[in-house]
Symmetry: C2
Subunit: 318 residues, 2 copies
């Protein structure tokens, strides 16, 4: 069986470009660019919690990086470097090969370098094999003063959503829908959009726990309320076709894992955002507006009546 | 039960000092100092693999950060910022309080700020409860060009070791030895030593997998061999007292988890290193020398005969 060191070398030791030193020392060494701030985010994915046992390794490699790229997008940062810590029940070369293919394919698209990591064995508990654990930390750069925070929304700002909501949650609710399954397994982080929103958006967040909950974080941090028109929430044909209206509303308002961006911007930027949408070939939908007052979200139905909004995903909810 | 967001706020949301923005946005935002390179390292600790179920939460908080600080020390970097990703079987407030106490006590000693993280629930598998998973990523700064690499050792350099070897492995072999148990549970990362070795040492590594194996990494990367005198390896009274000579040799040469520094330095720096040892009140032992030739470690016994060296810890060894 190959040793830990052989495995790291075989699958993850790629020549560093901008990093002063790559994988294989006690730490990676980077040279941050002058005039830039550094955005840092970390995400932990666990077998059994975030993905099922036997999940496709290549898709996992994609997703583990994608959720972190999405955090960079929500900050308006250009992703640059990543570290990867992996625990596996055994040194499974076939799994590692597939995982690294998924990871590096996405990393390559956005110029992200894998600069370091940690590989370890997860121990079996009796008859239960050790779980796969994936921890990715991402580092990105953003020109000083231009990062997008959650706290910047102002009353009167428009509320925008990229792409479509609810597909990932639909894939969990109805595993047969192939288009939705792709959205769950291979989310597309909105990295270009995030970078282009610098100076245009006043606040941004990515939809990981559900639209209502994630917009709620913007409202909390910004000290403002919001009014959203349910009919304007962007949705795929698959979600639109759902007969059960309650289910459709739940997918759109509380479904997680879409990794779209929700952001706020002054009304004066509408033209610029419409042009950006055309340029990026990415739908940007204006769904409501920021209101003065308590950090509360009101969602109105087609008749202008307030709708009940379910709480989004909470990792420790009972 | 408190939500994920409440828990993050309660235990981990501390006011950021040097970070432009702390815990609670999509990513943390840092301002790296001018003229500095950034050292980045990540470590994954798993219940069942790295610590036993029921391990003391405060000690875990210390150790999870200490192993990362040790990587900064081995690079000669000053630790500045850390992210923490945690998976727990339940939102156990008492556990989180103890863990955060251990973590922040050590972070405070070295001026490290917790800038971000991720909290999640680890799912039970049948009757087996979800495991505790801890992933810490650390970022440190080192003046450009002064980082300590594994690759810098040159024939003729002395080989040095800080502190004492083998205590952590002794604690595993003989759990009753209290002084050794402290070394295993609460390792002391050699952060000050690492920073002071800039410009003095030619290569450095921390002892996590065992002296022979970790020195072996320096030799591999430097393309040089080494001769070490077994009698010179620094050891505590507890290790010295061990009657079983094979066990004693195994602890000293192949015992992991000591988090001492092994480093190489030109003979001309002996005086400076002895003065540094006195100033830091930390033993620095000269144990051998770097040799031209193959990256092979020879350990000589008191009679000058080569000793067998067991392979150190490999996470995927059969």
């Amino acid at each position: 069986m190959p040793s830990e060191f052989d495995l790291i070398k075989k699958f993850f030791d790629r020549p560093a470009r901008s990093a002063a030193l790559g994988v294989g020392d006690d730490a990676a060494l980077l040279r941050p660019s002058a005039g830039m701030e550094l955005a840092v985010s970390t995400d932990l994915l666990l077998e059994g919690t975030h993905f099922r046992a036997g999940a496709d390794a290549r898709k996992l490699g994609h997703k583990a990086l994608a959720v972190n790229l999405s955090d960079m997008a929500a900050m308006g940062a250009a992703p640059r470097w990543a570290t990867l810590a992996l625990a596996l029940p055994a040194a499974d070369e076939a799994w590692l090969e597939e995982f690294s293919k998924g990871f590096f394919a996405l990393a390559g698209r956005f110029g992200v370098e894998l600069i370091g990591g940690d590989t370890t064995r997860s121990t079996a508990q009796g008859a239960v094999p050790g779980a796969i654990v994936i921890c990715v930390t991402i580092l990105g750069e953003v020109p000083t003063g231009l990062a997008l925070f959650r706290a910047g929304a102002r009353p009167g700002d428009d509320i925008w959503v990229s792409g479509q909501l609810g597909d990932a949650a639909l894939a969990l609710a109805q595993p047969g829908v192939a288009a939705a399954a792709r959205r769950l397994d291979k989310p597309e982080p909105r990295v270009e959009l995030g970078e282009r929103l610098r100076g245009i958006a006043t606040a941004a967040i990515d939809v990981s726990d559900g639209f209502a909950q994630d917009l709620g974080h913007i409202l909390q941090r910004s000290g403002a309320g919001a009014m959203v028109e349910y009919a304007l929430l962007p949705r795929s044909d698959e979600v639109r076709k759902i007969q059960d209206e309650k289910l459709q509303a739940r997918l759109l308002l509380s479904g997680g894992d879409d990794y779209e961006l929700v952001f706020t911007a002054p009304q004066s930027n509408r033209g610029e955002l419409e042009a950006l949408s055309a340029e990026l070939k990415l739908a940007l939908s204006r769904v409501g507006s920021v209101q003065a007052g308590e950090p509360r979200l009101q969602v109105l139905d087609a008749q202008g009546r307030p709708m009940a909004v379910e709480r989004g995903f909470d990792h420790f909810a009972p």
